[in-house]
C-alpha cells in the first residue's frame, strides 16, 4: 500500500503545531491559573459541544496531512514508483476518490444531469439522461427502485450509527463511572439528567448526532454520489471533505507563523520602550497601513512570477500547491500580526510597572529573564484568545481570497475554489447548486463552531467578564 512517505512543508508544520499544543496542554494542566479557565470551558455546554464538532474536523484534517506515494498496480510482477502523492485520508475514502463520472450529476442521482445522444442495442439513437458509471449502478431500474433504495440505505446507515453511538456512550459512561468510583447505573443517571459538572450529556448527544450522520453519509456515499459530481465528474462530497484540511491549515498555520514575531516584538516594544518601541511601532503601523487584500495580492503575484520562472524547482503539482499555501499563510500572518503585537505592547507597558517586575529589576535580574519569567506567562491568555478568535475569520478569508484568485492554488481542494467554480455553474440552466451548497454548509459548520467555541474561551479567560458575572 505504501511506497515511501512524503512530508510536505505544511504537514511538518501541522504536526509541529500539534506537538506545541500538546506541550502547552501539559504545561497548562500543571498550573492552576491556566487550568481554572479551561475548567470553565469544560463546564460550558456550548464549549464541549462545539469541541466535539471541531475535533471531527481536526481528525479529518490530520488524516489528510499524512502523505505517501501509493504503490501502483503490480504490472508484470514489478512495482513502479509513482509520482502520485495521496494522503491517509485519500486512501481511506478511495472509492470516493476514484469513482469519477463523466460530468455533472445531482446529489444521489442515478443519471447524468444533461441529456446525451445514446446508441441503443438495436442501433437506434435516442437523447436521454445516461446512467452514471458508479452512482446507483447497482439498481436495475432506477426510476422504480431509487426511492426505496435510498430509504433502505438511509435506515441501514442510521441504525449502524445508532449502534456505534450506543457502544461508544456505554464505554464513556463506564470509564467515567470507574474514575468517579460510582456504579454504572448511577453514573448513567447523573449524565442523562445533566447533573455532572462537565456537561457529558451534551458531548454524548453531539457525538451521537455526528456518528449517525457519518454512518448515514458513508452508507449512501458508498453507492451514490452523496453531494453529486462536478464538471469533470469528481465527487463533490470528496472535494468538500478534502477542503477541510485547507481551511484548518489557513486558520492555524497563519497564527503559528505570526506568533513568534508578534510575541517577541510586542513584548520588546512594551518592555524596553524608547527607540526599540519607536522602531517596532513604526514597522507595524507601516505594514498595517497597506490594505491587507492588496498586500496579499501583490505578494501572491510576485510568488506567481517566481514560480513560473523557476518551474523546475518544484517536483510535483502537489508540492507547488503546498508551497503556495504555506506562502499564503505567511503573508496572511504578516498582515494579521499587528493587532496582537499592539495588544501585547500595551499589556507589557502595564506589566513592567507592576511591583514584582520592579522588584526583579531592582534585584538585577536580566531583562531576558524578566520577560520570560514574569511578562510572558502573564500575557499568554491574550495570545490564546487572539489565536482562537482569529481562526474563523481566516477560514472565511480563504474563501474570499481564492475567489479573487489570490488564495490557494487553483488545483488545490478548498471551499474558496469550490465556490469560485460554482459561480459559473449558478448561471447554468437548470442550475448546478450542490457544489456551492456543499462548500457553504461545511464551511458554515466549521466557522460557527469555531465562533461559539472562541466566545466560550474568551469569556473563560477574560478577567473583566468574569467579574461581572
Amino acid at each position: 500500500m505504501i511506497d515511501g512517505w512524503v512530508i510536505l512543508w505544511t504537514d511538518a508544520l501541522v504536526f509541529l503545531l500539534l506537538v506545541f499544543s500538546l506541550v502547552f496542554a501539559v504545561y497548562a494542566s500543571r498550573r492552576e491559573h491556566l487550568r481554572a479557565p479551561w475548567r470553565r470551558v469544560a463546564r460550558s455546554g456550548v464549549g464541549m459541544g462545539t469541541l466535539v464538532v471541531l475535533a471531527f474536523y481536526l481528525l479529518v484534517g490530520l488524516l489528510d496531512s499524512i502523505h505517501f506515494h501509493p504503490s501502483t498496480i503490480v504490472t508484470e510482477g514489478e512495482k513502479s514508483q509513482s509520482a502520485e502523492v495521496i494522503s491517509l485520508f485519500d486512501w481511506m475514502v478511495t472509492p470516493l476518490r476514484v469513482r469519477q463520472e463523466k460530468t455533472y450529476s445531482a446529489p444521489l442521482a442515478a443519471r447524468l444531469y444533461a441529456k446525451e445522444s445514446m446508441e441503443l442495442a438495436d442501433g437506434r439513437v435516442v437523447r436521454d439522461y445516461p446512467r452514471l458509471l458508479f452512482g446507483g449502478a447497482h439498481l436495475q431500474d432506477p426510476d422504480r427502485e431509487w426511492g426505496r433504495d435510498i430509504l433502505r440505505l438511509s435506515l441501514f446507515g442510521i441504525l449502524k450509527g445508532a449502534l456505534v453511538t450506543l457502544v461508544l456512550s456505554n464505554i464513556l459512561i463506564a470509564l467515567l463511572a470507574a474514575r468517579a468510583g460510582a456504579d454504572f447505573a448511577c453514573q448513567a443517571r447523573l449524565i442523562l439528567t445533566g447533573k455532572t459538572p462537565i456537561p457529558w450529556r451534551v458531548v454524548l448527544v453531539t457525538l451521537g448526532v455526528l456518528v449517525i450522520l457519518i454512518f448515514w453519509a458513508a452508507e449512501l456515499a458508498a453507492n451514490y454520489h452523496l453531494l453529486g459530481t462536478d464538471k469533470v465528474g469528481e465527487d463533490v462530497f470528496y472535494q468538500t471533505l478534502k477542503s477541510i484540511r485547507t481551511g484548518l491549515l489557513i486558520g492555524t498555520l497563519t497564527t503559528l507563523v505570526m506568533l513568534p514575531a508578534a510575541i517577541l516584538l510586542g513584548i520588546m516594544a512594551g518592555y524596553f520602550r524608547g527607540w526599540v518601541d519607536d522602531i517596532i511601532q513604526y514597522t507595524y503601523t507601516t505594514l498595517n497601513s497597506i490594505p491587507g487584500v492588496l498586500l496579499i495580492a501583490a505578494a501572491i503575484l510576485m510568488l506567481q512570477i517566481y514560480m513560473s520562472n523557476h518551474a523546475e524547482e518544484f517536483n510535483s503539482l502537489i508540492e507547488r500547491a503546498d508551497l503556495r499555501l504555506l506562502f499564503l499563510c505567511i503573508i496572511l500572518g504578516v498582515t494579521s500580526w499587528t493587532g496582537l503585537c499592539r495588544l501585547l505592547r500595551g499589556e507589557s507597558l502595564k506589566l513592567r510597572e507592576v511591583d514584582y517586575v520592579q522588584a526583579a529589576t531592582a534585584f538585577g535580574v536580566r531583562p531576558l529573564q524578566i520577560i520570560s519569567r514574569h511578562i510572558l506567562p502573564n500575557v499568554l491568555h491574550i495570545v490564546l484568545i487572539t489565536v482562537v478568535l482569529d481562526f474563523s475569520g481566516l477560514v472565511l478569508a480563504e474563501a474570499v481570497l481564492s475567489y479573487v484568485n489570490i488564495g490557494v492554488d487553483p488545483t488545490m481542494n478548498s471551499w474558496g475554489n469550490m465556490i469560485n467554480s460554482a459561480r459559473l455553474e449558478m448561471a447554468r440552466e437548470p442550475i448546478v447548486w450542490w457544489s456551492l451548497a456543499a462548500a457553504m454548509i461545511f464551511m458554515f459548520i466549521l466557522v460557527l463552531s469555531a465562533n461559539l467555541f472562541s466566545d466560550v474561551v474568551r469569556d473563560a479567560f477574560d478577567p473583566r467578564l468574569r467579574d461581572t458575572r
Binding site: Y282, T285, T286, L287, N288, S289, I290, P291, V293, L294, L295, A297, A298, A299, L301, M302, Q304, I305, Y306, S308, N309, A311, S392, L396, A399, V400, Y403, V404, N405, I406, W415, I419, A422, R423, M426, I431, L436, M440, M443, F444, V447, L448, N451, L452, D455, T468
Partner: protein, 325 residues
C-alpha cells in the same frame, strides 16, 4: 489644536515613505522587471528583444536606484525608484501596463465605489445601532439570547453566500433588479439597490454584536447607575446617556474607514459588475497589471493614514481629555 494636527501629519510622512519603499522592494527587487516581462509575454520562448521592448515601452529599462549613464541630478531621478515609486507621492500614477492612464481611471472609478460603500456604511450603521439598542434594552432576556445567536450565525456565513444567494433570489428568481451592470446618473439606482442591501445584511452580525458589547459596557458604569438612582426612566437612560457615550467609540470606528470607502469592495463590485475601484483592482490582479496594483497599494495606504489622522482629530473634538495629554 493646529500644532497637534500638523504634528500628526508629519508623523504620516515616514510611514508613507516606508510603504513606498516596501512596494518598491516587492515589485522591483524581489522579481526583476525582466521576470515581469517574461511573465506578461508568456513563458515559452521569449526573445531578449521582446523583453527589452516590453520594458522600454513601460519605462522599466532604467536602473533601479542609481543611473550611471545619466548626468547631474539625472543620476538619481532617471531611475525606476524615482520614476515609478517616488512619483506616487505626487499622485502621478503613470500608465498601466496596458497603456491606460491610471490617474484618470481612478478618478472615474471612485464614484461608483462610493455610491455603494457610503449607503452601506450609513444605513448599516443605523440598522446595527438600532438593533443593538433594542438588544441592550431587553438585555438578559430571551430576546437578548436569541439575538446573539442570530448574530453569531450571521457572522459565520461567508460573505460570498450573501452575494450569490441574494443575486439568485432577487434577480434570478424574482426578477426584481438586474443581476449585474451599471449605468450613469439616476438609472444607476436599480443596479445599486441589491449590492447595498446585501452589504448591509452581511454586516449585521458582526456590527450588531460589537455595538451590543459597547452598550452593555456603558450600561454597567457608575454614571448610568446614578442616572437610574435619580429616577430617570430606562428610555431616557438608554437614549440620552448610554447612546451618547457609546457614540465615541462608534464614531471613531467609523471615521477611520471613511476615506477607504473610495477603494470600494473587491468582491461586491466584481460580482455585480460595478465599474468601481474594487473591480479595477481585481481586474488588475487577474491581468497581472503590476502598475495598477502598485498604484492601488499606495493609494490604499494614503487613504488609511488619512483615516487615522481624521480619527485622531475627531477624538480631540469629541473627547477633550485627549487634547490635554
Amino acid at each position: 489644536m493646529m500644532a497637534y494636527i500638523v504634528r500628526r501629519m508629519l508623523y504620516a510622512v515616514p510611514i508613507l515613505l516606508g510603504v513606498n519603499i516596501l512596494t518598491f522592494v516587492l515589485f522591483f527587487v524581489i522579481n526583476s522587471p525582466d521576470d515581469m516581462a517574461r511573465m506578461n509575454l508568456g513563458m515559452k520562448r521569449v526573445t531578449p528583444e521582446a523583453v527589452e521592448n516590453w520594458k522600454r515601452e513601460r519605462g522599466y529599462d532604467r536602473p533601479l536606484l542609481f543611473n550611471q549613464a545619466s548626468s547631474g541630478s539625472g543620476k538619481l531621478t532617471d531611475t525606476i525608484f524615482f520614476q515609478k515609486s517616488l512619483k506616487l507621492f505626487r499622485f502621478e500614477f503613470g500608465l498601466s501596463d496596458s497603456g491606460r492612464d491610471i490617474g484618470y481611471d481612478i478618478s472615474q472609478r471612485m464614484w461608483p465605489s462610493l455610491a455603494i460603500a457610503l449607503p452601506v456604511l450609513l444605513v448599516g450603521l443605523l440598522v446595527n445601532i438600532s438593533y443593538a439598542l433594542l438588544i441592550a434594552f431587553f438585555r438578559a432576556t430571551y430576546i437578548d439570547f436569541w439575538s446573539v445567536v442570530l448574530c453569531v450565525t450571521m457572522m459565520s456565513i461567508s460573505g460570498l453566500f450573501y452575494i450569490i444567494g441574494g443575486q439568485f433570489l432577487i434577480s434570478k428568481l424574482l426578477h426584481l433588479v438586474p443581476i449585474s451592470g451599471y449605468d450613469t446618473g439616476v438609472s444607476a439606482i436599480k443596479f445599486l439597490v441589491l449590492p447595498v442591501i446585501i452589504g448591509i445584511i452581511g454586516g449585521i452580525g458582526a456590527g450588531t454584536r460589537w455595538y451590543r458589547t459597547l452598550f452593555l459596557e456603558e450600561i454597567n458604569k457608575d454614571y448610568v447607575r446614578t442616572a437610574r438612582a435619580k429616577g430617570l426612566s430606562e428610555n431616557v437612560v438608554l437614549f440620552q446617556h448610554v447612546l451618547k457615550n457609546a457614540m465615541i467609540p462608534i464614531l471613531t470606528g467609523v471615521v477611520v474607514v471613511l476615506p477607504l470607502l473610495f477603494m470600494g469592495s473587491l468582491i461586491t463590485e466584481s460580482f455585480f459588475g460595478i465599474p468601481g475601484l474594487g473591480s479595477y483592482t481585481i481586474d488588475a490582479i487577474n491581468r497581472q497589471d503590476f502598475a495598477i496594483v502598485r498604484a492601488m497599494v499606495f493609494l490604499g495606504s494614503v487613504l488609511y493614514i488619512l483615516g487615522l489622522l481624521l480619527t485622531d482629530i475627531s477624538y480631540t473634538l469629541v473627547d477633550p481629555r485627549v487634547r490635554l495629554s
